[in-house]
Symmetry: C4
Subunit: 284 residues, 4 copies
């Protein structure tokens, strides 16, 4: 997010005055106009997602279907205008259009137009909910952004361990699911290997829908093993992530305290208990 | 809780002697009379909650309905008298009436009177169970209170990370739920987007009621992704809270004994029972 | 367990030689005879538990009921003789009879005799499975015992935090369950407040049987809150226990390394990086 | 895996040139030919597992049964040839045939031949999925292998604690399951002690299929205890594994950079990018 902010600053158009004014309203969250615009935008997004949800409920569509249809188009046109305004007033259009935020902005309006040719696709509009993530920028929740970054950093750091874990889980459910198919068979609901693998995932993750339940003694013993396995190995991703979050927290705390910049070399990355600059040895 | 205790001490009325006497019985837990009063109060609260619960069971209400009705009024009148006594004998009435404990004391009697006009509202009386939290004060469970404070401090410290996590989860279930609605459709139980989102929450949190189960191959693949996702991302709040609790524990332990630094070698890593520095043998 | 071992050693009878011989066989696990006895005992216990389990399956009882009945009595008589031999050959009978192991030994034979007057009570015999815990002593799994002690120490240390957590959970499910009763009502399966509280426990703990599922929009919103709450607060006990286990592990590792005893004061509780005795300051 | 790699290197045949050439293609992943072979192999394995899965779905078998049958034999013959080529070109055949990879290679072809005599056993072919684990070698995911080793090291280190935990869980479900059988009885679905124990496992691990749900008040109270117990004690394996993973991570990080001690003040807590001691300013 902060990078996007920087990108925005660099993207501010130098040319026509009206473009700069629109830019300030649409892209900046610091000015009063920009703040009001963003709050209005978030309310519109939430309302439009609500419209899509209500439209999917049969009993409501039968009564208010027409109103919801017009509201859907109303919000889509609003968001289309907003999208083109954004395109017009940024300096580097390709950069905005290919940024994650720009793609979400586009994807949030396409399904309505698509629904003219492909009925049903309007429900994809719920993707608009992703636009609400702008809320973090509006409310200047710098803290939240930095916490989100710390979390995603911890998750990225544990990416490889998580991949190894997921590989193991997938191999496990394929083999255990197939075994359950052989043991229980079609008469007990394990109608095919894919179905049995789905059941093994449902059981290993401790979700347990209960639409299929093993009936034979051997099947129940294997199911017990799967359940206790699932109950125990959840410890592994938890352990991985906890360990990474702890390390990230410790480093954050080390750096906490008033920021001190070394007069000699300009380094400002000091531990809170540092008396000398670790890069040039000068007292700080 | 300790603040409330302090508040109580300051709230002790200086005026009439009988008010001070009542205050000592109702508010203090240190005097024998106060202790007996508190124990009696907790038993009454538990009994009155039991009465409300039993009253909600049809087979019991049919037989003992009248007795339960009178018992409900009996406890309500007792608690009403208690509430007014509390109001009378504290010095700062507004302060008590607007404190969390005071509000709970009031809310615990209102539903019975309300049920005269609004049948059914008497079941709100279970809110009385909150009053049982006084038990921590009665039993002088200072340890428990300090542990509760440490826990809530750890949770407060991780508030922002938890918010970011909940935001992500809510965005996820809205998008995944809508996708399931498009994939599975009404014929497989996913009758509307809100229903599908509810199903996505049920599945992601690994609750798995099993009233709706995906039937199409694509739906099952997406469901598997949701389940494995839910199974894995539970690691995130756990990691956050564990990390905070560990830090809180470390700080508590540090405070437990004053930190002692060896005058000879500067080592400060001493066991709490150490008499001599383990690195240089100097007395500490 | 080690204390029991010590207790055994002190309990060794000094008198008659045959009593000492029986004691060595029954109570000691170090001698060959004692080891064979213990292995035989564990096999008997497992077989007798299996008999009780099989006896509870209708289709098996119909065919093999008589055999199982005799086997049950056979094992009970064996264990009764063993119990009296234990009573005879220990020095302090009251101490053995009131020790946890002694009580389990008695409870493991009583239900069969009780079933003569109270049919059905023979199924309580599964309590015999507790006797299998002797296996830790037989196999000399000192490591396992020390690990078990470390775990139970960590759990004891987090006892107060866990109590606070459980209190909060119980208060939560009572209030949330009652709210669900008011919102959903009897027509949707929430037939009484106790039933609704049971449902709230099922949902909060992410078990999710699915026999009762909320149907109203408001009920589903509250259910979503309960599920996400349950999904998140599981982090609290996990954080507590993880933190305690980490501390216990750190302390264990600190003490690891060859045991060094101070020549001056006899203290042998040194950290692995200690150069001087922390009690008397002598070099170690 | 690395050991296997070493084993391979030592196993490279010195004799005939064509054997060495085949060895390089089949066993090595470093040469271009070896890499293409491995990628082709993994695709074949995944396709053959897919064939087995599709063959288990009735509606697909009815239409494409014959094609799937021939594909199954096609892949089996391919893998059989590959297995014999492997046997021919390694130096130490017994060593390869008894290594985990060698056993999986054999087990991956046997079921098809077995299905000639024992219909249904061809579904055991899903074991082929284990061969996909070779993917780690192909993609040279050294990082993943080292992460996998770290994880399995952490799990091995917590083996004894996990055993104690599983012993406790098994004892718990046997006793709690039997109690539920006595309380609820056959009329509420708890038809035998083994069934009740299976239900106790389903409930304790928070899977909750919901095919059997307690109906009596006492049964529901005990079920609540089981659920809250299961919800809480999941903290134990999590705590154990988290603690071990943290220690393994700390050690890994320590090894990452050589520990540098400041010659001046003895401080050894330097950041990896430090050039000067942060406490006294001396060069390190």
């Amino acid at each position: 997010m902060p990078e996007t902010n920087n990108a925005n600053r660099n993207n501010r158009p130098g040319g026509a005055k009206w473009r700069a004014a629109i830019y300030d309203i649409i892209f900046e969250a610091d000015t009063p106009a920009g703040k009001y615009f963003d709050i209005l935008l978030i309310i519109s997004i939430l309302l439009s997602v609500l419209v899509v949800m209500l439209d999917s409920i049969n009993s409501i569509r039968e009564v208010y279907g027409e109103i919801l249809y017009y509201l859907e188009w109303f919000f889509t046109i609003i968001f289309t205008i907003e999208y083109f305004l954004r395109l017009i007033c940024v300096r580097d259009r390709i950069r905005y259009a290919t940024s994650p935020l720009g793609i979400v902005d586009l994807v949030a309006i396409v399904p309505t137009y698509l629904s003219l040719f492909l009925p049903g696709s309007q429900f994809l509009l719920v993707i608009r909910v992703l636009r609400v993530l702008r809320i973090f920028r509006v409310l200047k929740l710098v803290h939240y952004v930095s916490e989100a970054e710390m979390l995603s950093k911890a998750l990225r750091a544990s990416r490889q361990k998580i991949t190894v874990f997921l590989f193991t889980v997938i191999t496990l459910v394929i083999i255990l699911g197939s075994l359950m198919y052989l043991i229980e068979g079609e008469e007990n609901g394990f109608t095919s290997i894919p179905t049995s693998i789905f059941w093994a995932i449902v059981t290993l993750t401790t979700v347990g829908f209960g639409d299929i339940v093993p009936q034979t003694p051997l099947g129940r013993i294997l199911a017990s093993v799967i359940m206790i396995l699932g109950y125990s190995i959840i410890a592994v991703p938890t352990g991985i992530v906890t360990s990474e979050i702890s390390f990230a927290s410790i480093e954050e705390r080390k750096k906490a305290g008033p920021e001190r910049t070394c007069a000699q070399c300009g380094n400002s990355d000091h531990d809170s208990d540092a008396l000398f600059c670790k890069h040039c040895g000068t007292k700080v």
